[in-house]
């Protein structure tokens, strides 16, 4: 990814090594002579959650410049889906953002249902919303865990994983999967949820609501945590707009945009929930938004389960899933931001073209701007607070 901003390396040649005239100028101006060093963070590095490479130019502890290099995990999904029929694609797209698998499936299904003009029964819609939000909670708790760990606080990780487990178990009861659920079908769901699912799900989300204040005390209330995150890695609102940043990161930069609220899909308009946002755009705000979205998601799950209609879980779907000729763009709110799918069909059982707009890809593009002139230790906090999933960037 090319850095569009001024690289700040005007006085250096390409390797970051100054030539003699620069050094002479520096010595005469009385500045201490230092030399910049290129540091490759990644592709194998614990803070990058996968194979993500950051070409960092550092001057002592200061990060002069950072250039994210992506593509180590490119799996060619957009081309691959052109050779697969729709049933198979469902399971492929859930592997893009592996932390919120079920959230990846939904835009494809909505796109198909729009093209095929299938009416999805209300019970299926409610169940979908409940599962999507449970998946979002799992995802957010995962990032809560990893962000703490990156700042050196190891304990929140275990707390978060304990909370995840109950919700994870509920989803496992219904779908049999823990990461890639594959439970949605064009027109509805694979099957109705088993007995005990609602109780387990409610238990899980209520537990999260109960215990969240503890987490806030443990991590957000910690003085060291505040020092590490407040005013670190500020992403101003206009920059966030320009890079197309979305999701919790954009909302941390005072952009109150949430597809669930602004362009409701499924039955999101029937639920009462708030869009969390914070004004400063620093690591702390991003993290705060992430944590508070968990509560909002939990509220939606509660409302969905309490108002769960009875009835069929599958609409009238033809035997062969075959989208008629046409095109449609569907945007949904993935756990990490706006996930859009542009489906072009030529009437075959396979898509003619499926363009996927993933949130992490756009979010990460704002990294060079934020990382400039920070400390090496801040780099980790910023990478952690950008909540990206490698599979979602590279596809």
């Amino acid at each position: 990814m090319a850095v569009t901003e001024d690289r700040g390396l005007a006085d250096t040649n390409i390797d970051g090594v100054r030539d003699s005239s620069d050094v002479a100028a520096e010595v005469s101006s009385g500045k201490l002579m230092t030399e910049e060093m290129i540091l490759n963070v990644g592709p194998q590095h614990p803070a990058t959650h996968g194979v993500f490479r950051l070409l960092a130019t550092i001057d002592g502890e200061v990060l002069v410049d950072a250039d994210p290099i992506i593509g180590y995990m490119h799996r060619g999904y957009e081309k691959l889906v052109e050779a697969r029929d729709y049933r198979q694609i469902t399971n492929l797209v859930s592997r893009m953002d592996w932390l919120s698998g079920i959230n990846n499936e939904i835009p494809l299904h909505i796109a198909l249902e729009t093209l095929m003009e299938i009416e999805v029964p209300p019970r299926a819609q409610y169940l979908r919303v409940a599962m999507l939000e449970m998946n979002r909670i799992i995802n957010h708790l995962m990032f809560f865990a990893s962000f703490g760990a990156e700042l050196g606080a190891i304990t929140p990780a275990f707390y978060a994983f304990r909370e995840r487990e109950d919700i994870q178990f509920a989803l496992e009861m219904a779908t049999g999967g823990r990461m890639h659920f594959g439970f949605f079908r064009p027109g509805g769901l694979k099957e109705d949820v088993p007995r005990g699912f609602f109780a387990q799900a409610l238990k899980g989300v209520r537990q999260v609501i109960d215990r969240l204040p503890d987490y806030e005390n443990l991590l957000i209330g910690n003085e060291i945590f505040k020092q590490r995150t407040v005013n670190v890695g500020v992403l101003p609102t206009d920059v966030a707009y320009n890079y197309g940043v979305s999701g919790p990161i954009a909302r941390g930069s005072d952009i109150t945009f949430d597809v669930r609220k602004d362009e409701p899909y499924l039955v999101y308009d029937q639920f009462d929930f708030d869009v969390c946002s914070a004004p400063h755009g620093d690591c702390f705000d991003r993290f705060w938004v992430l944590l508070h979205e968990v509560v909002e998601s939990a509220k939606i799950v509660e409302q969905a389960i309490e108002g769960m209609p009875s009835g069929p879980i599958m609409g009238k779907v033809p035997r062969v899933v075959q989208a008629p000729e046409g095109e449609v763009y569907v945007r949904t709110e993935n756990s990490l931001g706006e996930l859009g799918m542009y489906l072009v069909s030529d009437g075959d059982r396979r898509p003619y073209r499926l363009k996927i707009r993933t949130p992490s890809y756009n979010n990460v593009s704002a990294l060079p701007y934020v990382l400039k002139n920070t400390f090496v230790a801040d780099m980790i906090a910023i990478l952690g607070s950008f909540f990206f999933v490698l599979g979602d960037i590279d596809r």
Binding site: A47, I154, L219, N222, I224, F375, V376
Partner: protein
């Protein structure tokens, strides 16, 4: 009991053997304690299987595993320095134990300048860390080593100053005399002042051991393992694991000696004196170690510049003020 007569050489050999045993054994026990304390603070069980009972043999098994690992020296590394660095780290740490009095007479060498020697030798191992970082030919290692050196310079001062205050209170530099001077532990008496000195000491000690929240030099999520990134097998064990645990136990012992009254009972009460001094000493050392272990899962990591600011702008002025107060206490009370 028959008197065993030993020549000076034999005594020396026994002493050396004892000291050489303390660190590896302590590392095994300390490593296990760290696993378990952290696990229970985090709502989990920790290792449960190796050895049968609550996974007691975990660290032993770990050690044996590391013995079998290949010893890799990177091509670009400065080979001689790279191989020497673990020793340069370990030897000063082992030498700390020479002067810590475990009981009235159970001390390898009761130096007259014990506390001075202790503070001097406990910072020598940073040279080894620098050697390791510089010779590894790895940028992460280099950053870690430099952070480590900078941190030592900043946090050595509060430790030295608080220890100096203790020496002032006791009126002696010999560790045995310092312990004898503590009818009441220094942490309790002089009231408030002793506790403040203790807290300064603990903070500085944690930073010198490079443990959370001051573990910037080895921050594993940032610079892998800092200076020890390129080390494998036994060299890794010596430079990192044993060094960490050796330091932990040494500082536990130092803290117990300086502030918790070493081998003396916790309160000057006749019936408590039947318990041998070494038991008191070990209890207090374990308490100190537990304190250090407790802090690790509780806090996030402090950033490098914040760490330096904290030392120079807060901790060192504070310890200077405490020195002043201690002087006033010694003079007028």
């Amino acid at each position: 009991m028959p008197e065993i007569a030993l020549t000076a050489w034999q005594i020396l050999i026994v002493k050396v053997l004892v000291i050489l045993m303390v660190v590896p054994m302590g590392a095994i026990v300390g490593g296990y304690a760290e696993h378990k304390v952290m696990a229970h603070l985090q709502h989990r069980l920790g290792p449960m299987y190796p050895g049968g009972f609550h996974g007691w043999a975990t660290t032993l098994a770990d050690g044996i595993k590391f013995l079998y690992k290949e010893d890799i020296i990177p091509d670009a590394a400065d080979k001689r320095v790279f191989s020497l660095a673990p020793a340069a780290i370990m030897v000063p740490i082992i030498m700390i134990y020479l002067v810590i009095p475990m009981d009235e007479s159970l001390v390898i060498e009761d130096l007259d300048v014990g506390i001075f020697y202790l503070l001097a030798i406990s910072s020598v191992s940073t040279i080894g860390v620098l050697m390791a970082g510089w010779s590894s030919a790895n940028k992460y290692a280099l950053i870690g080593a430099l952070r480590s050196a900078a941190q030592l310079i900043a946090y050595e001062l509060p430790v030295v100053l608080s220890a100096a205050a203790v020496a002032m209170l006791a009126g002696s530099l010999s560790l045995v005399d310092i312990v004898r001077a503590q009818d009441w532990m220094f942490i309790l008496w002089p009231p408030g002042l002793g506790l403040a000195l203790f807290l300064v000491f603990v903070t500085g000690a944690i930073a010198e051991m490079t443990r959370v929240p001051f573990d910037m030099p080895i921050a594993e999520s940032e610079i892998i393992t800092g200076p020890f990134t390129e080390y494998t097998g036994m060299r890794y064990i010596f430079s990192h694991m044993f060094a960490e645990m050796g330091h932990l136990i040494a500082f536990g012992g130092i803290g117990a000696t300086l502030f918790l009254g070493g081998f003396q009972p916790i309160v000057p009460w006749e019936p408590l004196e039947v318990i041998p001094g070494i038991v008191w000493f070990l209890l207090k050392t374990f308490f100190m170690i537990f304190l250090f272990l407790w802090i690790r899962p509780t806090f996030p990591r402090v950033r490098e510049d914040q760490l330096q600011k904290f030392a120079w702008k807060f901790l060192i002025p504070l310890s200077l003020v405490l020195i002043l107060l201690t002087g006033a206490w010694v003079l007028y009370v």
